[in-house]
Structures are given as C-alpha cells and as structure tokens.
C-alpha cells in the first residue's frame, strides 16, 4: 500500500514535468463563421507575432486544418507550450449557392463548397488528437444548433477537456446568457476575438483546463 502511494506520487510529479515540456494540442472547433480563426490569430499574434490563417465574412474560409506549433503562452508568471490547431467549421449541409450571395463566381463557389465538405471531414478526424478543445460559438446566433451539441457530446465521450467561448460580445445582438443556459454544465467565457476583449479570463480557463488533461 505504502509503496503504491509513493509510486503514484512520483508518477504524478514526472507526468507534470513531462506535460509542461510537451506541447498541449489546443483545438478550435465550432460552426462556420463563429470566429475560430480570429481567436487563434489573436492568440498566435500576441505570443508569436504571426497569424495562423486568413479570415473572411464568407463562410468556410478555413477549409484545411491549420497549425501553429510551439506557441508559448504566459499567464500570471506561468508558461505553457501549445500546438494551436484551427479547424474548418463543422456543418451538416453545404450549398455552393450560398456563396453566390457573396458575389462569388459559380465555378469558384462550387470549388469552395467541395473544399469545405472535405474540411468538415478533416475536422472530425482530428477530434481524437486534441488535448483541449475550445468550442467557439457566435454569441449572436442560436446556440441550440445540433452541430454544437454533437461536437460537445463527442468531446465528453472522448474525455477531452472543453471550454465554450461565446465570441463577438462586442456586438449588440450578443447573448451570452442564452449560450450559458444551452450548456449549463460548462463554463462559458464571453470574448471578442476581433478586439481582444476578455482574453485574460480565457487564458485563465485554458490554464485551469490544462490540469485536467488525461
């Protein structure tokens, strides 16, 4: 019994040392146009000076999984190294005609739709590889969307720590309370990735979640 306690104690210490040196895979998931890339860009720019990908008002701008390795985030004197993984928005339908509304040529719209469908498949495949997932939701949209529920359900099933972020709180229509009532079991952090609002609280939650990695 005593040997086991001592063994577990040392194991925990070594694991913590090892975890601090190893990159934590931080995934950004959510529906299209919620601001996943904007948030990942904000973090990457603050700590590395470089962005991870381009953003656009047209949905499905991110159609491939994008990475930024060795992003060292410092918060209140503590440091953690992350591999940032920005994923394409998950949707259950993609219609090229939606892109035509943004004055896109038919051929380009069709190509974008095709790439977007492949992006969704790629996002789903990556779920298993994450250590922590940030589910980015648009605070102006209805959170009772099956895609959001499915993503979170999958993360629970895989025992991956999850943080829900309500983005775009700078907008008048934003309603964080609606997101909180849709996901009462989770902490919801309201932020504005565009203006960098409330990111301190976001980092605090990420550091807290990093302790729950299995």
């Amino acid at each position: 019994m005593a040997i086991r306690i001592v063994k577990n104690f040392f194991k925990r210490i070594f694991l913590n040392i090892f975890r601090n040196k190893k990159e934590i895979k931080l995934g950004f998931y959510g529906p299209p146009n919620a601001g996943k890339t904007s948030l990942a860009n904000r973090i990457c720019k603050d700590f590395t000076g470089e962005e991870i990908g381009s953003v656009s008002k047209i949905p499905h701008e991110t159609r491939n999984v994008q990475f930024k390795e060795k992003v060292e985030i410092e918060y209140k004197g503590k440091k953690l190294v992350f591999k940032m993984i920005d994923t394409p928005g998950i949707a259950t339908k993609i219609d090229y005609e939606e892109f035509l509304k943004f004055k896109m040529k038919k051929r380009d719209a069709k190509a974008r739709a095709k790439e977007a469908t492949q992006g969704v498949v790629e996002s789903i495949k990556w779920l298993d590889d994450m250590n922590i997932v940030v589910v980015v939701l648009d605070a102006c949209e209805n959170p009772y969307n099956q895609v959001n529920i499915t993503i979170i359900g999958n993360l629970i099933a895989r025992k991956i720590p999850v943080l829900i972020v309500a983005n775009k709180i700078d907008l008048k229509k934003a309603n964080i309370k609606k997101i909180e009532s849709a996901f009462p079991e989770y902490e919801v952090i309201g932020i504005s990735a565009k203006y960098g609002k409330n990111l301190e609280e976001f980092y605090e939650s990420i550091f807290k979640l990093s302790k729950k990695i299995k």
Partner: protein, 135 residues
Amino acid sequence: MKKKRKSLGRIKGFSIQFMPYSEIRILNSDERIRKILGIVLGNNILLLQGRLLPEEETRLIGDTMAMIGHVKGFKGIELAVIAGNGDDKLFSKFRRKFVNILSGGDLSAITIIGPATVVKEIKRNPKKIELMLNK
C-alpha cells in the same frame, strides 16, 4: 367520371417516416448510418425514436459531407435531437442512465433528420422545435 378529391393531397417531393429504436438497436454503427442515409436520400424526413451515439452523429455528418458532390442534387442534411437539456439533478441523471442501459439507448429522445433540399432549417430553443421546409 372521376370524383374530385377533397383532401389536400400529398405534398410532392417528400414524406415523413417514423422509425422506432427497435429497428436500429441490433445494428452496428455502419449499418445504422447506412440505413438512415438511405431513408434521407429518398427525400424522406426521418423521425427516429431515441438518438445515435455521439460518435455516430459525427460519423453521419462526415458521411453526409462525403456524399455532397457525388450524389446528384444532394446538399447535406438538417439534424436535430430533442432530449433533456442536461441540467437534471444527480438522482434523475442516474435514473436516466440506468433506464438507458436497460433499454439499450436513450429512448426518451427523438432525432429528426431530413435532406437539406427539403428541410431548410430546424429552429429550436429549449421549449419548441420548428421545421422550416423549402418551397
């Protein structure tokens, strides 16, 4: 001479199909997804008793995406699950999990799946669900 029908008649293009959970209980994930997609591709709205496993839901989304562009006119699906909102008390949660184990699935839920060409949007909030159809 033919009698004129007084009923509203059938709305062309789709039908609603109800499937009890017993139809998919013994199937594996592959067979469940294939069965569901077979119904949805036939322009039917499926009301499924119970719900799929989270992994099956993502699998369904992934398989749907893989079909867009390969199946003529297919643009994806609309999907919604009506179930408890998860803020049950500890005892209720335990009781629900126990019942789910006995019945082999969450039979208190209803899953609605329809082709995006027919179902424009499934609007939901905690108290109601609205199925918006394409014209």
